[in-house]
Amino acid sequence: MGILTSGRIVAFIAFILAWIATYLGIELGKRGKVRIRRLPALDAMEEAVGRAVEMGRPVFDIIGMGTFTDIYATQTVAGLSVLNYVAHLCARLGAKLYAPQASVDVMPVAIEMVREGYLAEGKIEELNVDEQLPYLSGTQFAWASGILGMASRLKPASVIMVGPFWAESMMFAETFDRLGALEIGGTARLYQIPFFAAVCDYVLIGEETFAAGAYLSGDPLQTGSIACQDWYKIAAIILGVIGAILATAGLPWVSQLMSI
């Protein structure tokens, strides 16, 4: 065993297994064998868009300032799936959608997502991309103040924020709250979840963001990955529970195993 680094052998095995599990999960996803539970925040999106129609005010969908190259790319992808769904809802129910953009790389995909939604609902003539998906800025405070400016001008009835968010999350949550908008927030950036959880009417916590994206898109790559992650979480639960019971009985086998 000389070629493997000691203390990391179990980690290595876990890594190899993750590799295989990712393949398996995606394969199951392709065969439609993965079912993801529907989250309450998704039902709330329909309510949010309906509210905007009733009040005659627009809907904001903000996917954050992530890019495809950073480590938060999955959150951006989830945000795009949600944007697509919201575009469908807005086109169908007749609410005006605004989705300001922060990333040059993501913007063309976002436009495609919205266009597809409007097209599928037969409302493509109602979509004005330049007005509804403006590019604000890729710099944090310019982006944040741009959104705040749009918000006080257009007074949205509802706002959906799913994607990676940084320190601007609190500025957004507070401003939209002041404008009386119904807020649905979701991010997997650990540092920012508390603000959405405290201020928003509905919140997607951490990985729920990915699950929501996978549920809405039905993309096997996304659903399969969720399945694979579930297996690992279940493994963590089982190992944790058995390990704690054994350790309480004086047999610290699991934690010893983990340091091989």
């Binding site: 990391r8 179990v10 980690a11 876990a14 890594f15 993750a18 993965v34 079912r35 993801i36 539970r37 190259t69 480590i71 800025s137 710099t139 405070f141 310019a142 103040s145 705040l148 400016g149 006080s152 609190m170 540092y191 979840i193 508390p194 603000f195 959880a197 405290a198 916590i205 951490g206 990985e207 729920e208 699950a211 969720i226 399945a227 579930d230 690992y232 979480k233 279940i234 963590a236 639960i237 190992l239 944790g240 529970v241 058995i242 390990g243 704690a244 054994l246 350790a247 309480t248 004086g250 610290p252 699991v254 934690s255 983990m258 340091s259």
Partner: protein, 207 residues
Amino acid sequence: MVSTDVGVWIAAFFTIVATSYAFRDNIFFRFAEYTFIGAAAGHAIVMGVKNVILYGWTHIAGGEPSYWIPIILGILIYTRYHPKYYWIYRYPIAFLVGIGVGISIRGAIHADFIKQIAATAKPLIATTPLGTLNNIIVFVGTVTALTHFIFTYEGIHKGAAGWIPKIGRWMMLAAFGGAFGNTIMTRFSMYQGRIIFLLRDWLGIIH
């Protein structure tokens, strides 16, 4: 004594203007914002050039021609702006993504998965009753929060078992409350530094 240093006056001006936005949007804030964006991008270039020289060029000068490779890759990043040859920029990006992803996931499975399981698999009974209670809360928090994030087995969220993820949700909300409270302090402690700057370095009211 009020400061006589021009630099301190400029800094004080920018400090006050950057604060003003929280009260109301105004043109002075826009001016400060644009200054900041320009300065930050300029600083990034200066540091970029310095790093290229320090970590690339000195190697070449020291007789390691292989360091031409990262320099060429680096230059290729800028092909992304070319209408026809934009795809060349994928080479340096592919390199950066490979190294970045590889380096972060190899540590993640050790520090975030293996080590955290090892920390969970600890005895629940402690020497004091409070210690035992604490251990149980941590254990329950970890396990129930994990169950909350299981999406593909719907049974776990229904019926009597449904209480487990529900407890997890409450534990997480309680934890978020703590995090929220802590963030209030973080932001204030950051701003206090600016107040001290204004009162001490600029106005000279305190020492």
